[in-house]
Amino acid sequence: MRPANGPKPAPAAAVTAPSRLREAGVAAAMYLGCIAVALLISAIIVWLTGGSWQAVFSALLDGSLRAPGRWGETIGIAIPLVVVALGTAINGRAGVVNIGQEGQLMMGTAFATYVGVNMGGPGPLVVVCLLIVGAAAGAMWAGIASWLLYWRRVPEVLTTLLLITVASQATGYALKVDWLLLAPFREDRSVRNQVSDQLADDTRIPRLDIWGNDFPISAFAVVLMAVIVFLLFKRSVWGFRMRMLGRNARTAQRAGVSTVTYGTTAMLISGACAGLAGAMMLSGGDFGNYRFTPGFANNIGWEGLLVALVARSHPVGIVVVAFSFAGLRAGSGFLAATGVEREISQVVLALLVLALLVPPAILFIRERRRALSATRDRT
């Protein structure tokens, strides 16, 4: 029985999917609405606490785009976010959970640092090598979780998460030991504590300067990566099978998609992306001044995960959302100058992030509901 359909001669008529254009319109309206509400609430909070809401929003805009050189900064922050999020989109598609990007990113950076500082040889070669090694290290770290999952069915949600702590401790230790990552003692530094040597000038990713905005050229590579992932999702047999696995593992197995092979591949790629993001941060220059330190990851792994969620794993959406998140990050630096209390400005930022999170959640739930009710009413 199909109550949503009624009599027989009209099968599926009432439940056909609404047109894509309308869907997109609804989604856009939802985003605008949520952001408007968040801005309104923020304004009220700032006003109630005696601040100037105009100043807050103006500072956010200045810090992310308007002030000289700021959109270059925003791009620089967006780069690792996009890379992490693209990896997350891939493992999400295959139905494997990875929430350990932060740790994979740390491992990637640590290994990349070692290569960058110690390898020697022609600069460009070193850059390429440190990026590759960074990706490999991230993949290895995610691979541990994947191995535990398929060998002993240890839930990957737990392992990836817990491995962050391990990565944090391990890299922290490496930064304390001379023969690993700790920078050699020099007179000009008073504190010789948990900091790596700086990458040499020729082992850094070149930076581009456009009207006073400078950012590493890896930005172009990242956009290319997004396009590649987009095509993989849209047109490749591999992406198709990944999606099949993620949506229905039994059907996939029947159709010849091995859960272990494809699941592990997805996890390794996801980890590799996080590791690569770390290596790019290190050699890109927007984070930590070409040095690796314990706080280097700075939640970029977490935020990249968030970007993928908000963009609902859509590669183009990821680029847009990553830029928005990077803008908020860059803009938050300017909030201190407004005289608004730090706690309040943090609330404003959190509200804006929340505004971006709500629509995808609603869209997801709506889709689920529709699918569920459609299947439930069938016989």
Partner: protein, 534 residues
């Protein structure tokens, strides 16, 4: 367990008057009247989409009617949600189970209760109900390990526990074997006659309505077309009223659940598609299973020395009571489980069944029992679902063109008469029958050697069943070996050239369709060995 209700009062248990309900432009119920009396089983007969379920959902509070009145025990009332319904003593056993598999039976029964509860008392109560109605359900069994028939009895216990005066059963036998259906009707009769409840039995099976009900209301396209005492009805009359045209009971017998007519007509039905089926053309079987031993995920032996041969162009029907290894057999042929011992051969070549895609690579296509579990991806489009198994067909070097996919899909949609908004419609937007067509279209599109059809018509309506059975015959005629796994005996008898009986993971009997002796078959289904049966 039950306080006796006053019998013989003239006030009907439920009176629905002039109920109308529309969904958008579509009218699901159009001024429907329905009266349920205590002590009687009221059948509600109609095809899928006739409005039966909507009407029942009105009664249980899942759907609010646009117009019309509801009276329960003579009292006018509104039923806004299932809690209202429960408070008025209305309970429903839904067609689709809502059970939590890892929990035990009594835990499932207690789900939804709030506040403190006494586990020992709850177990006791479940055991009592089970015994009282002869349901034979162990309160401590894990639901995940129970067969569909037993699960339904758990649902019945869930419902009876609240001691409802009015019981609704929505297509209760769609997942049951004939024997289990009989037991269900025994329970129903007990609940009705002895305990004076009112029962509404929703069904599209004539046989069931004729056997189990006292009166019957027939619905078509949202309206009541006929209402009568069951004793005055006969199968052709009901079929005519339900479908709205003359029905050949022979060809649609299985759809309507009439074993008798199939068997009576065995001379013609035995070999529905001419003489070509009698002699298997090849001596090497298309599919050969030898001494297969397999274990389920719980470690229990699910297949225990199974032997089956399927030759080209023949339909082999695997009969058996559900839970005797049917799903393990389907899983095996879907490359979902590996064998512990034994040989699987397709066209004489050995296959390692546990490797992902091994069976489909070898040319074994499957229309699975639960298409949502292993036959489709609900969240993908219709076109994508048509290419799940062999996307390589339209790909070059790992890249495919969605436009080509859509075009090919459109062709299949037309060929298989799939009713859908188009290739890009999400799979879940299709009706059950059309989903099944998509699965079959895909499975046939890669020219299989063997087609495995597990419960291929379960839950489909008459038209869809007719279509499906015709297709299966065509498939066999085109030279493909067909393995039909079904717990609907009528279906097996109607389609198969050869019938084998599956019991506890092995084949315990085999007979040609022409030689089927129903009595012997029944004994075999119950596990009696062939010699004992003869």
């Amino acid at each position: 367990m039950v306080e006796q209700r006053t019998a013989g009062t003239d006030v009907p248990a439920v009176r629905l008057a002039s109920i109308s309900k529309s969904f958008g432009a579509i009218t699901a119920c159009d001024r429907v009247d329905l009266t349920l009396h205590r002590g009687r089983i009221h059948g509600i007969l109609g095809e899928n989409g006739a409005g039966k379920s909507t009407l029942m959902k009105v009664l249980i509070g899942l759907v609010l009617p646009d117009r019309g009145t509801i009276e329960v025990d003579g009292e006018r009332c509104q039923i806004r949600d299932p809690h209202d319904a429960a408070a008025r003593g209305i309970g429903m056993v839904h067609q689709h189970f809502s059970l939590v598999e890892p929990l035990t039976v009594w835990e499932n029964v207690m789900l939804g209760d709030t506040g403190r509860f006494d586990a020992a008392a709850a177990r006791q109560r479940v055991a009592e109900i089970s015994e009282h109605y002869g349901l034979g359900v162990d309160p401590d069994a894990r639901v995940g390990e129970l067969s569909a028939g037993v699960r339904q009895r758990v649902e019945i216990i869930k419902c009876l526990r609240r001691d409802p005066g009015i019981l609704i059963f929505d297509e209760p036998t769609s997942v049951l074997t004939p024997g289990e259906s009989e037991r269900l009707f025994d329970v129903l009769r007990l609940a009705v006659r002895e305990e004076n409840r009112a029962v509404a039995l929703v069904s599209h099976k004539l046989d069931e309505i004729l056997h189990a009900t006292d009166e019957v209301t027939i619905m078509r396209a949202g309206a009541v077309v006929k209402r009568m005492e069951t004793s005055e009805a006969d199968a052709p009359m009901l079929a005519r009223a339900m479908v709205g045209r003359e029905v050949s009971l022979r060809s649609e017998a299985s759809a309507l659940g009439l074993v008798d007519s199939v068997v009576a007509g065995s001379g013609t039905v035995a070999d529905p598609s001419g003489d070509t089926h009698d002699e298997p053309a090849a001596t090497v079987p298309a599919l050969r299973l030898r001494d297969i031993v397999a274990r389920g995920s719980d470690g229990r032996v699910s297949l225990d020395g199974l032997n089956i041969d399927v030759f080209d162009s023949e339909i082999v029907g695997v009969a058996g009571v559900e839970g005797n290894g049917q799903s393990a057999l389907t899983d095996l042929l879907s490359s979902l489980v590996s064998v512990e011992a034994g040989i699987v051969e397709v066209d004489g070549a050995r296959v390692q069944p546990g490797r992902p895609g091994a069976m489909s690579d070898a040319g074994v296509s499957v229309v699975p029992e639960d298409r949502h579990a292993s036959g489709c991806v609900l969240d993908m489009t219709v076109a994508e679902n048509l290419f799940l198994v062999d996307i390589d067909r339209i790909a070059t070097r790992g890249i495919y063109d969605p436009a080509v996919m859509r075009r090919d899909a459109a062709r299949l949609i037309e060929e298989f008469e799939i009713q859908t908004a188009g290739p890009d419609a999400p799979f879940w937007s299709l009706s059950g029958g059309n989903q099944q067509r998509v699965v079959l279209a895909r499975e046939l599109s890669y020219s299989p050697r063997v087609l495995v059809a597990a419960q291929p018509t379960r839950g489909l309506d008459v038209g869809a069943i007719e279509w499906m059975t015709d297709r299966l015959r065509q498939v066999a005629d085109s030279g493909v070996g067909v393995l039909l796994i079904s717990s609907e005996l009528e279906e097996i008898l109607q389609l198969s050239d050869r019938v084998v009986v599956l019991f506890r993971g092995r084949i315990i009997g085999e007979m040609d369709r022409a030689e089927v002796d129903l009595e012997e078959l029944g004994l075999l289904l119950g596990g009696a060995s062939a010699e004992a049966a003869a």
